[in-house]
């Protein structure tokens, strides 16, 4: 597995491992929260903007439609196997299972970013419009998760709360920024890129390194909660990404995506949200335990995908597509 080793030895992954190590030895290394959040916004803006610029250059606007529909379908569907696995093999409550399932139907932007960086390093091209796919997959899963959490309950959300939830889903900051920067990239095209290139392109790898350093620190902090979670949940955290990746790859084959696009769609399906969905769950299922889903999405699935998953999906996709 040459690719796996090359991935492991890339600066972003090494920075993640450094953060992980620092967290495990309980170092007081700490990236200020305000800065970490700004770096996340930067990453979101960059992938959105670059995606928009590329779409403008290639004008594949129509080719997007089936892909976006399929992506939304993936996001809607993936919570189902997640919920089933959780209810069968773990003892989490229905509410928590629904909340967790929503996280796994949605996507992790940083995992996506790491996958694009992996492809770039190996010189594998991918469809520019994939950034739009990320935006589309963020939220449908919330509906399915919510439905699953509430099956069997007589009372649904009252009207006020339903309104708040719809608003939260549509106006979620990361979705707005991703779609907005995509539109800005599309509208300003090559000229816009020339002006923003030093920031959104040249700086990308460096910022990703710092952000992953922080992710490592956060992931390590999640480890403390693992003891209480039991082996069933931990196993879920590494098996659900495989279910997701397989599904995503099948969809990519049907849609006839490029090798790069296939890897990205598999990675998106394999990843679990820890930005948009936690925010929505605070409104939709306020009494669900947020540390449970974050520990899974952030503490297990994220590092699994980053270190092992992405090169694995790439290797499989190469056989199928390459």
């Amino acid at each position: 597995m040459d690719a796996a080793l090359a991935n492991l030895l890339s600066p972003p992954v090494l920075c993640f491992l450094l953060g992980l190590l620092a967290g495990i030895v309980r170092s007081d290394l700490e990236i200020p929260e305000a800065v970490a959040r700004a770096l996340a916004l930067y990453l979101i803006f960059s992938i959105g903007f670059k995606g928009g610029v590329e779409l403008a250059a290639n004008g594949e606007l129509l080719a997007l439609v089936p892909l976006l529909l399929a992506a939304a379908g993936l996001s809607l569907f993936l919570p189902l196997p997640a919920f089933a696995l959780l209810r069968l093999f773990t003892s989490v409550s229905r509410v928590d299972a629904g909340a967790i399932a929503a996280h796994y139907g949605s996507v992790s932007i940083v995992t996506y970013v790491a996958a694009t960086s992996f492809l770039q390093t190996r010189g594998i091209p991918y469809e520019g419009f994939m950034a739009a796919v990320v935006a589309v997959m963020e939220t449908p899963a919330i509906l399915t998760g919510l439905f699953l959490a509430r099956t069997g309950e007589t009372a649904g959300l009252d009207a006020r709360r339903r309104g708040e939830l719809v608003h939260e889903i549509l106006a979620n900051g990361s979705v707005v920024l991703l779609l907005g920067s995509f539109a800005i990239g599309f509208l300003t095209g090559a000229d816009g890129m020339r002006r923003l290139e030093p920031v959104v392109a040249s700086g990308f790898q460096g910022v990703l390194c710092f952000f992953l350093l922080d992710m490592g620190l956060l992931v390590a902090r999640r480890f403390a909660g693992f003891a209480a979670m039991g082996p069933g949940l931990l196993l879920f955290g590494v098996s659900m990404p495989l279910v997701g990746a397989t599904t995503g790859m099948l969809v990519a084959l049907v849609l006839d995506l490029s090798l790069g696009g296939t890897v990205l769609l598999a990675t998106l399906a394999a990843s679990a949200s820890y930005i948009a969905v936690p925010a929505a769950m605070r409104l939709a299922l306020p009494r669900a335990n947020p540390s449970l889903s974050l520990s899974l999405a952030l503490g297990i699935t994220f590092p699994f995908n980053l270190v092992l998953g992405i090169p694995l999906y790439a290797a499989v996709a190469e056989r199928l597509v390459g």
Binding site: A36, L218, P286, P290, S291, L298
Partner: protein, 103 residues
Amino acid sequence: MQTYKRKRLEIVVEKRRAPAVLELLDREPGITGWTMLPCIGGRGHTGTRLPEGATDALDTVLILVVTSEEIAHRTMPAVLDLLQDYVGVVLMSEVEVARAAHF
């Protein structure tokens, strides 16, 4: 120094719910003001929260309101009602102020 007795309400809520609480306070004409402070973590029935670089969905704030006993007794249940099963706590305590008209 001559002082006047007032009540002090402290409300810990998720940052994203704070606008709803502040709106409620702003609708009560007797309440002359409030102060909001950031929290960097907490523990309660929904587990432990510590700063997350990745998301601010779990952030909480503390809202401090100084007002008359009567209004405090009216506002406390209204806030609890607003929070319903959302995350949060509401505390009440005694406080003295010097400028009676200000609160």
